[in-house]
């Protein structure tokens, strides 16, 4: 009951807020000082609403795609606000410029907002303290905020935030609120469960796919079956006969069927008779691989980085290692197949659905449909995974086009096949390495990368630690679309580079942990060229994981592999411990040390790391995307194989390096090194070096 009343208040505030109360991200601007909306609610900025009954609503500004920011971002506000987390309600913010950058990508939400959201919370806290001091006619320095109350210790007086809310709303916004000391944090760094945990476990509607609006039709779309094909003739008579089908809409390069249920829309879509014309080359993965090899053989015309002279040093080398690593294209395979709701009528667009870039979607719909941005609203529900797929706006734009053409609210639902056949794939890549070795030293490192659309990056370690280092970068043009996929670039490069590093260690008979530490020492003491990582932070995770795993003492019957990688500002080191069962690895345990600055939500952070490790193992081991005559051969989970429980690690132990630094990324950084950690463990177990993903296929081929 209480929450119903509260909600009404909040709605009232929201309605009134358009009049000018709520502050933009530049909340320090005095001209935008808080004005009371009514006598019951305090809302010093767009992130916080405090009801007279003490209810606190915090807005989570960035899309929730499983990375936990619906919980962790409001935690930062709540920490500085000094409220009881149990009394906090959280909502996902709709798209609104007042919230700043509302992207979910690049492991950036916490990194980008930590400082600002602390100030958001501290601002409100100081105003509430001030309100109490005025009420009691005491010095504000004598008053303290504590768990949703302001307390005057000397007199024992105490007032709740709710009771102070109206007075606080009349005060000026402090220009430089005091932030708490880290040692006084009560919430940040603790284990807080996901704010939607109960809704998830009880199956309450939360996701885009659960959208139901008055008058809404369900739509399915027939899209080109291959890259290089375009829409020709359409025969829709049979489709229109299907029970429940209401409309068929021809778009530029696809056909939508609208119906009263998802199943009717699918049956209607499948009943379309469409002629697809081949208008471009229909490409094949086998041709991509051959072109990669040819281009690597030919060599790059320029270098991404070139320290010393990798060619000259080969003259005096005791040994030269030359190897090639191969990585396939991947689909995103987020568990919620793409969908989107759109209602585009009368020059207005209401959009609601899964997107990692609501602002981009708004801009794209505005441009493509010629609707003024001010007439477009974008709401973002909780999402069944992102992984980079929804950094593209195609699903939302398509729904808007269909709704506009049909003049009806519409929910466009993609099947799994639609999703996998119309993706922006993690590009296939190939890396060639050449290293010169003396009897006991790594003398040079030459990395040549090539991928669909793009190649590798030049500056990651071992750059900076070696006198002779070269990195080349080539891209192959293709009409198969590529995009961002969890830890882009790093997810492939770390496998190749850290796999090859293990090969170097084997050749030099060096301990993999000790050898990395030597390199980081070298990079710190005598860096070569530009250095893009902090050697001491690398050292911190390598040492911590060695300690966690008691490195050097492998349990009997088990085999271990080590790898480390830096991405999105965070450092990760891992030890994978496996045994072989019927030619496949059973992963007994993964030890993982992380240096990501301060941890906000210990439960969420650990979950991200554990999840990224399983995700990385899954995609190292099983799936691949193959293009055959422009079409994707793996269109669902029967052929696009995913890891199941039996192949997941039995245990993953995660430790974070204690740090006062501002938080860095965590949705992605634990994924890149794990494929190499596993490949290196497989080498220890079998003596076979795996240089090609998916590993399960490589292991089968090696075994036969």
């Amino acid at each position: 009951m209480e929450s119903t009343i509260t909600r009404k208040h909040f709605l009232k505030v929201s309605a009134l807020s358009a009049g000018g109360m709520l502050l933009s991200f530049s909340f320090l601007d005095k001209r935008l000082a808080a004005q009371p909306l009514d006598d019951t609610v305090f809302a010093p900025n767009v992130f916080i609403k405090i009801g007279a009954d003490g209810t606190i609503l915090l807005m989570a500004p960035n899309p929730e795609i499983g990375q936990g920011v619906k919980t962790s971002l409001p935690m930062i506000i709540a920490e500085e606000l000094c409220v009881d987390w149990k009394k906090v309600q959280v909502e996902l913010a709709p798209l609104d410029g007042k919230y700043g950058d509302q992207t979910a990508g690049g492991s950036g939400a916490i990194r980008g907002r930590f400082a600002a959201l602390r100030t958001v919370g501290a601002t409100a806290r100081e105003m509430l303290v001030e309100a109490a001091a005025i009420t009691w006619k005491v010095l504000r320095e004598e008053c303290t905020a504590d768990n949703g109350y302001v307390v005057h210790k000397a007199s024992g007086k105490k007032l709740s935030y709710g009771a102070l809310s109206s007075k606080a709303a009349s005060l000026d916004i402090p220009s430089k609120p005091m932030l708490k000391n880290r040692k006084d944090f009560k919430l940040i760094g603790t284990r807080i469960k996901d704010v939607d945990a109960h809704k998830i476990t009880t199956g309450q509607p939360l996701y885009g796919i659960d959208t139901r609006r008055e008058g809404m039709l369900f739509a399915m779309v027939a899209r080109p079956p291959a890259y290089g094909k375009t829409l020709g003739s359409v025969e829709d008579a049979e489709a229109r006969k299907v029970n429940g089908v209401k409309n068929v809409i021809k778009l530029q390069n696809s056909v939508a069927v609208l119906a009263t249920s998802t199943w009717a829309a699918k049956k209607g879509r499948d009943a379309l008779v469409i002629q697809w014309n081949s208008t471009e080359k229909l490409e094949n993965t086998s041709e991509h691989s051959a072109a990669f090899k040819e281009m690597l053989e030919k060599g790059a015309s320029s270098h991404a980085r070139n320290d010393g002279d990798v060619d000259a040093v080969k003259q005096n080398a005791a040994k030269i290692l030359n190897v090639t690593y191969e990585i396939p294209a991947l689909s995103h395979g987020q568990m919620e197949p793409l969908n989107f709701f759109a209602d585009v009528r009368d020059g207005k667009a209401v959009l609601y659905g899964p997107t990692q870039v609501p602002a981009d979607l708004k801009a794209d719909v505005s441009k493509q449909l010629g609707i003024s941005a001010k007439n477009i609203t974008v709401g973002v529900p909780r999402q069944g995974g992102g992984f980079g797929r929804k950094l593209m706006t195609d699903n939302g734009v398509e729904a808007a086009l269909i709704s506009a053409a049909a003049q009806s609210p519409v929910q466009v639902q993609w099947t799994r096949e639609d999703d996998m056949q119309n993706d922006f794939y993690r590009p296939a890549e190939m890396y060639r390495y050449s290293a010169a070795l003396s009897a006991d030293k790594l003398l040079s490192w030459h990395q040549s990368g090539i991928g669909i659309g793009r190649g590798t990056w030049g500056d990651s370690y071992v750059a900076g630690a070696l006198t002779n280092y070269r990195s080349d970068n080539q891209g192959l043009k293709s009409n198969t679309p590529t995009g961002w996929w969890r830890a882009p670039g790093a997810n492939t490069l770390a496998f190749a580079a850290e796999g090859f590093m293990d090969e170097v260690c084997v050749e030099l008979k060096k301990d993999p942990v000790a050898f990395r530490l030597e390199l980081f020492k070298q990079a710190k003491q005598d860096p070569v060229g530009k250095i893009t990582y902090t050697p001491d932070k690398y050292k911190s995770v390598v040492e911590l994981v060695a300690q966690m795993s008691n490195w050097g003492t492998t349990p009997s019957g088990a085999y271990r592999g080590f790898a480390t990688w830096f991405s999105f500002g965070s450092y990760v080191a891992q030890v994978a411990e496996i045994k072989m069962v019927d030619g496949r690895p059973k992963i007994l345990k993964v030890f993982c040390a992380v240096n990501c600055g301060q941890v906000i939500n210990l439960s969420g952070a650990e979950n991200q790391v554990q999840g990224a490790i399983v995700d990385g193992i899954c995609h190292a081991m099983f799936p691949k995307v193959t293009f055959v005559n422009g079409a994707v051969a793996e269109t669902n989970f029967d052929s696009y194989e995913f890891l199941r429980m039996k192949d997941a690690p039995l245990d993953i132990e995660v430790k974070f390096v204690d740090s006062d630094d501002a938080p860095t990324g965590l949705g992605e950084p634990a994924l890149p090194p794990v494929a190499a950690a596993l490949a290196n463990a497989l080498y220890a177990a079998t003596g076979k070096r795996i240089r090609k993903m998916p590993f399960a296929e490589s292991l089968r081929q090696a075994g036969s």
């Binding site: 249920s261 568990m335 899954c618 669902n636 989970f637 429980m645």
Partner: protein, 154 residues
């Protein structure tokens, strides 16, 4: 179109649908029970797992015409107050990330506990085959063990 009467979460529900409509879409589009999720449509991922007479079944692969008077339980009916030992363990261990597959995971786990009240890791491996791209497997395994130890789960 034909008329069907289904037993869902201990209630009799009347539905008019084509005979080939998968139970998944009947639940979601006709009965507005949105907790059961669509993931693959080919009985591979388990996001749509429900109970049919107590057994875990992929609802995307069962046409409504074959449901008959079998008793269906969805995530909404797993417990009266959302407090099944598995639901409690899931929350306590903060299992979910995106959360999308978890209704199916819970239904699969609940059927497992009926057959094996105190399952071994091998039994969990063999019976929990649902896909989770977020990689919550380690916590799912722990939550199943935790729920098995709660007194009310038997």
């Amino acid at each position: 179109m034909a008329k069907y009467t289904l037993s869902v979460n201990d209630k009799m529900m009347s539905v008019e649908a084509d005979a080939d409509t998968p139970l998944l879409w009947v639940l979601r589009d006709h009965l507005n029970l949105l907790g059961t999720k669509f993931g693959c449509g080919i009985s591979e991922c388990g996001a749509c797992t429900v109970h049919v007479n107590g057994n875990a079944v992929h609802s995307c692969y069962i046409p409504i015409s074959s449901v008959g008077d079998n008793k269906i339980v969805t995530i909404e009916g797993l417990s009266a107050n959302g407090d099944h030992p598995l639901q409690q363990a899931w929350e306590e261990l903060d299992v979910s990330q995106c959360g999308y597959c978890q209704a199916g995971q819970l239904m699969a786990a609940a059927a497992l506990l009926k057959n094996f009240p105190n399952p071994s890791d091998e039994q969990i491996d063999a019976n929990i085959t649902n896909i989770c791209r977020c990689g919550t497997h380690v916590r799912i395994r722990k939550a199943i063990h935790m729920a098995a130890e709660k007194p009310t789960s038997k």
